[in-house]
């Protein structure tokens, strides 16, 4: 199943912030984690993650530091900041409202069409 592009874009920020609130990670590991969490259902264009991370950094939600990988390459690690945690909590509230509304919509939509029409 392919997830719609807009949906991926909208959920990207809370996903990244949520993943980072479990601990510092570098870009590739973040993407792997997204894949695991969605059971492989969410496929991002890998390159798009980095502009997003840079934007979160500019907003002060994450901080970055250069380290080295096991192979000795330069690697940039990202960590969530207190402001990022606040933003994450805020997003979580917003998504809870959306999810609740959607849950109700799914619930009604699953009824047979005849019943639904009767309600209209």
């Amino acid at each position: 199943m392919r997830i719609d592009k807009d949906l991926v874009a909208a959920s990207a920020t809370p996903l990244v912030l949520g993943i980072l609130s479990d601990g510092d990670l570098y870009g590739y590991a973040i993407l792997k984690r997204v894949g695991e969490l969605s059971g492989g259902g969410m496929q991002w264009t890998d390159g798009m993650l980095y502009p997003l991370l840079h934007r979160l950094e500019r907003l002060g939600y994450v901080s970055s530091s250069w380290g080295t990988s096991e192979a000795g390459r330069r690697r940039k690690h990202y960590a969530i900041t207190p402001a990022g945690r606040e933003a994450f909590a805020d997003r979580q509230e917003q998504w809870t409202v959306v999810a609740e509304a959607l849950r109700q919509v799914w619930h009604t939509a699953q009824r047979p069409p005849a019943v639904a029409q009767g309600w209209a």
């Binding site: 590739y28 980095y50 934007r55 907003l59 990988s69 390459r73």
Partner: protein, 448 residues
């Protein structure tokens, strides 16, 4: 080497990505790390080098789209190109000489205005008050044309300009009085704010655009200085040659060359900054790095001298004004350094150096304030003292908060953008203060 072909492919890919202006070398490193991780994971599932590389590249995404996304986030990297790029494709065919023609016309216009002022305005004081009013409209006009300002923004610039022009000419200033001198000194600041509104295309609320204007101002000064140096060398040589054959160039220089060359150079410099930003872009960080330590040394020397002099009430009034100028210069240096800095770069040695600069400036400012308050307590108020006191208080607030935010940034508590935002939000305060000095001081102090 077993994976030589893979390495060569990654190398080629790197070279290809590096050509994108919006993707910095550090970003390429980051992307390369990602690519290699992906390749290694694919190899682990049994793909050979070639297949693993192809999958990894494909998953990284269309480079154009990714690069566009980088550009959206890092618009400062594209700053120079965005300005040079035509606004819409229909404009692309517009001949480049048109802009040059407009710039030259505006430069000549500024020269004519100054020449007319020199010819017809009687009295040095009146001319000094009007000099900015004669030149700035041409610079502002260039940006109004370039940015295609909306009618509302044009009116928003013209009305304050008209008010300023009326006030500067209708107030019955006492000849050679201090309120007149203050008005002459402060009016350009207000005019510069108006030019800034035109420069940012009316988007004066945007912090990013305000920073662009700060950067523009710094680079304008550099270009103007370069043009002035070149002009001085040329004039000097011509002078020498003409003197040998017995012709005296001095009256021509005074009456014709300088009145046209100086305002003209200002307009041309503005155009050069717009068109050829990348030439200076590499100089800006170097210049600020050279002059920040030198300025710190100067401030410390000044502090030592002031401490050695002792009795602050004895400090000469001229010295206080000079020190104000030094502090303003420090602030300009600071602002220019920040505008040239990559806001994502982690705290470094240079940021510590800047903190030292701010601290030294704060110390000088504190000494100045003490000296001023002592003078006011002893000799009472005067327009000069109030203007200087006001400027010093503004500088104190600006520097103190800058210092605090730099400390927070160095400790990793706040991003650099917080520091930038404080600068861009505070800048208009200076223009407002200048407007108060020009508009309210003369009537308050009886135009003395």
């Amino acid at each position: 080497m077993e994976h030589a072909e893979l390495e060569a492919q990654i190398d080629r890919w790197r070279g290809y990505v590096q050509r994108r202006q919006a993707i910095s070398p550090a970003d390429v490193d980051e992307l390369e790390d990602h690519l290699r991780e992906q390749v290694a994971d694919r190899q682990a599932t049994g793909l050979d080098d070639e297949e693993a590389f192809l999958v990894a590249i494909k998953r990284l995404g269309n480079l154009d789209a990714v690069s566009r996304e980088f550009a959206r986030e890092h618009s400062d990297r594209l700053w120079k190109q965005l300005v040079l790029m035509p606004e819409d494709p229909a404009d692309a065919g517009a001949p480049p000489w048109r802009e040059l023609a407009i710039v030259l016309a505006l430069a000549v216009g500024a020269g004519l205005a100054v020449k007319a002022g020199l010819t017809w305005i009687e009295g040095g004081g009146v001319l000094a008050r009007n000099l900015g009013l004669l030149v700035l409209p041409f610079l502002t006009g260039y940006f109004a044309w370039k940015r295609q300002l909306s009618a509302r923004v044009v009116v928003g610039i013209l009305v304050p300009f008209a008010v300023l022009a009326v006030v500067l000419n209708a107030y019955p200033f006492a000849s050679g009085g201090s309120t007149e001198l203050l008005a002459v000194l402060h009016a350009p600041v207000v005019l510069w704010l108006l030019a800034g509104i035109a420069y940012v295309g009316g988007r004066w609320r945007s912090d990013g655009r305000r920073m662009d204007f700060a950067r523009f101002t710094g680079e304008l000064v550099i270009y103007f200085t370069l043009l002035a140096l070149g002009g001085a060398v040329l004039t000097g040589l011509t002078f020498a040659v003409l003197q040998l054959v017995g012709a005296d160039l001095e009256p021509v220089l005074e009456n014709w060359i300088l009145p046209f060359a100086i305002p003209g150079a200002l307009v041309v410099a503005a155009w050069l900054v717009e068109a050829k930003q990348n030439v200076v872009e590499n100089i800006a960080p170097v210049l600020t790095r050279v002059f920040t330590p030198l300025t710190i040394a100067m401030l410390l020397a000044v502090l030592a001298v002031l401490a050695a002099v002792g009795g602050l009430a004895e400090v000469d009034r001229g010295l206080l004004i000079l020190m104000d100028a030094i502090l303003v210069l420090v602030l300009c240096l600071l602002l220019y350094a920040m505008s040239a800095r990559n806001s994502l770069a982690p705290p470094g040695v240079f940021d510590v150096l800047q903190l030292v600069l701010v601290a030294a400036a704060l110390a000088v400012d504190a000494v100045m304030l003490t000296a001023m308050l002592t003078r006011i307590a002893e000799f009472g108020f005067s327009p000069n003292k109030i203007a200087a006191l006001g400027l010093n208080l503004l500088l104190l607030i600006h520097l103190a908060r800058t210092g605090w935010l730099t400390v927070e940034f160095l400790r990793g508590r706040r991003p650099f953008t917080a520091l930038e935002r404080w600068q861009t939000r505070y800048l208009p305060v200076y223009a407002l203060w200048a407007a108060v000095v020009v508009l309210a001081f003369p009537p308050l102090f009886g135009f003395a």
